[in-house]
């Protein structure tokens, strides 16, 4: 994919993008280039600017300043052509209650002059064929999101823009949608999605863009991000009787950071390598004082906390 990025023309080019809503700076100088076939996740907490960025790409919002080219053109210059190339799904869109799934998809396919056969195929692709005659309100959350995806795909777009497609879905429904999106990769589709879920970004996207306060903090493949921004490993532990860990932990070889995580009620110790640190850690803390001990590799949330002091899911 990296090779592909080097040789292909970019599908999306954004330079120095700014957008404010009254006193709030939603985007503050965003640069982003996306190539054909890339699956890109825009990751960040609430208010990071993910939706605003996506809506500007979708042509729903206009930037205050900056350059944005989609397929070498702009929404202002070529809206009609771009509408046919872009498939999108907003957060929480509801459809017409009195229409069935099939009627809904046929309504949208009429705007693109797509034959009924194609609408049927798309329903099959998102595994909604059995629900074709069901009314929209009778669908589950996951089925509704799949309908939204079907509508986004009905005209065979070249780029798919999804705003938090799995928010509020149960893990099973979320996995179903991931699987469908994964299958679309072979069609050469380009995908940009916003999400709170790092597992979603990790599962679907080979490229992750972390946004915070309207700026891109990090951009790259998951491993690349973790290795370039932080190569640490994590030891999480709980002590009996709410004891505080000894200060001498800071003198451990490879020590990076120690803090108490309120949400999980665990102490988090970041070190270069837990293999070389664990034995000394146990001797300093005292094995009998430990209620819980876990070791793991650093993840995007750890990276985000070390960069901003906030969790991705906030």
């Amino acid at each position: 994919m990296i090779e592909n990025r080097l040789v292909s023309q970019p599908v999306l080019e954004i330079k120095e993008l700014h957008k404010s809503f009254r006193n709030l700076k939603a985007l503050n100088g965003v640069d982003l280039t996306v190539h054909k076939g890339e699956y890109v996740a825009l990751l960040g907490p609430n208010g990071a600017g993910k939706t605003t960025l996506l809506e500007i790409v979708e042509g729903i919002q206009k930037p205050d300043k900056g350059f944005i080219h989609l397929f070498g053109t702009t929404w202002h210059e070529n809206q009609k052509e771009l509408r046919h190339k872009v498939g999108l799904s907003f957060q929480d869109t509801r459809f017409v209650d009195r229409l069935t799934v099939m009627e809904t998809i046929l309504l949208f396919s009429s705007f693109y002059k797509v034959p009924k056969k194609k609408a049927v195929e798309v329903l099959e692709k998102v595994k909604l064929t059995e629900k074709a005659n069901a009314f929209v309100p009778s669908l589950s959350g996951g089925q509704r999101q799949r309908l939204a995806l079907a509508i986004a795909l009905v005209h065979s777009p070249e780029i798919l823009l999804l705003d938090e497609p799995t928010t509020g879905l149960d893990p099973h429904a979320r996995r179903d949608l991931w699987h469908i999106l994964d299958q679309l990769r072979k069609d050469g589709l380009t995908l940009i999605l916003t999400t709170h879920y790092m597992e979603e970004a990790e599962y679907l996207c080979q490229r992750i863009v972390i946004l915070y306060q309207g700026k891109i903090l990090a951009d790259g493949a998951m491993d690349q991000l973790l290795s370039s921004h932080a190569a640490e490993q994590v030891i999480e532990f709980q002590l009996i009787d709410d004891l505080a860990p000894p200060e001498s932990l800071e003198k451990l070889k490879g020590f990076k950071e120690l803090y108490f995580e309120q949400r999980t009620h665990k102490w988090v110790l970041k070190v270069d390598s837990h293999f070389s640190t664990l034995k000394k850690f146990l001797s300093k803390v005292g094995q009998d004082n430990l209620r819980l001990l876990e070791t793991r590799k650093m993840n995007l949330d750890d990276l985000f906390i070390s960069m901003t002091g906030r969790h991705l899911s906030e």
């Binding site: 009609k80 509408r83 907003f90 929480d92 869109t93 509801r94 459809f95 017409v96 949208f108 705007f111």
Partner: protein
């Protein structure tokens, strides 16, 4: 009382006073309605009861005599006598511009011509005869001629009212609901033609209102022998003009509202005054003279008046062309203004 009960009471109170729409409905609208109806039926206000006298039927002396009697015997009841030709007097009666007509019958006796089913005409008759001695009593000649009865006045008004309600709620509310569901925004993000989007509403509402009007006409025919005096083409064209006017208004009032609660308030704020002031159930001539020129220009009043002219007086489209053009202009201006400020998001 336990704490949760206090919290629940607090929740309901906050729901009440933190919602502008509820405040509008519970405080402002009843006051506004009371004021408007109070102005219309204020007992302290001089209520002018209009009576047409057919010129060729009654002597000048009789007219002066009645007027003097009326003004001298009652300060509250004030009659306005207009001396008109028979044709003009009956036209005014049909349009609700006069409560009753005094004319001579075949035997030369003065009779009061009106529809006893019309509350306004009946009360004017009672007020007039109460001022006369028993020898002077005027017999009633009940109107049976089609196009002159209260039901003939009422049915076109009900059709006009149905069109207004059907379009403002069917189009305006639906657009606001679509916006609230973010469906409007989703549609806008497709190559869907805007013209098609708005045209689809107009076509569907025309069909619905046409169906509603037909039901009312059929009911009117079988129950009251209400018949259309004018031609169907004129009626249909004028009907389209009314539909267009209210479609434009519906687009304008739904162009910005972000949720159905606000939409409810706006639509009611537009429909309720028009319903009261446009002469649907009783003539708007009961309102003070100073506001009548304004009331006559209300789209619902223009629409109802035009329908009455076609349905009761046999007018064709050329006679109501001015009203039709006015309605189309209202629709077009509202449509363009609505489109200018329309919010898809």
């Amino acid at each position: 009382m336990n704490n949760s009960l206090w919290k629940l009471i607090g929740m309901h109170l906050k729901e009440f006073y933190r919602d502008p729409e509820i405040l509008f409905w519970t405080i402002f609208l009843p006051i506004a309605t009371a004021y408007i109806l109070g102005v219309a039926f204020d007992d302290n206000r001089r209520h002018i009861q209009k009576i047409a006298i057919v010129r060729e039927s009654v002597s000048e002396n009789s007219i002066t005599e009645w007027q003097q009697k009326a003004t001298s015997l009652s300060a509250r009841e004030t009659f306005e006598f207009s001396v008109l030709s028979g044709e003009e007097a009956m036209l005014r009666l049909r349009r609700g511009r006069t409560a009753l007509v005094l004319q001579s019958d075949n035997k030369g006796n003065v009779v009061a011509v009106f529809d006893p089913g019309n509350r306004e005409s009946s009360s004017t008759y009672l007020a007039l005869t109460s001022l006369l001695s028993s020898e002077e009593k005027i017999p009633i000649q009940a109107i049976t001629q089609k196009g002159h009865r209260y039901i003939d006045f009422l049915i076109p008004g009900l059709i006009a009212m149905g069109v207004m309600n059907s379009i403002l709620w069917g189009v305006g509310y639906s657009i606001i609901e679509f916006r609230m569901k973010k469906l409007l925004r989703r549609l806008h993000a497709t190559p869907m033609s805007r013209l098609n989007f708005f045209l689809s509403y107009f076509v569907v509402r025309n069909l619905v209102t046409l169906f509603e009007a037909l039901i009312l006409l059929v009911f009117g025919y079988f129950s009251f022998k209400h018949m259309i005096q004018g031609d169907f083409l004129s009626l249909f064209l004028f009907f389209l003009a009314g539909n267009f006017a209210f479609s434009g208004i519906a687009l304008l009032i739904s162009s910005r509202a972000g949720n159905t609660r606000i939409g409810n308030g706006i639509i009611n704020a537009v429909t309720m005054p028009m319903l009261v002031l446009s002469g649907i159930f009783f003539s708007y001539l009961n309102f003070p003279e100073s506001v009548i020129p304004l009331l006559e220009k209300l789209p619902l009043a223009v629409f109802a008046d035009g329908l009455r002219m076609i349905m009761n007086e046999g007018a064709d489209i050329s006679i109501v062309a001015g009203k039709a053009v006015y309605l189309v202009a209202i629709g077009l201006a509202s449509y363009l203004a609505g489109l200018k400020i329309f919010r898809w998001n």
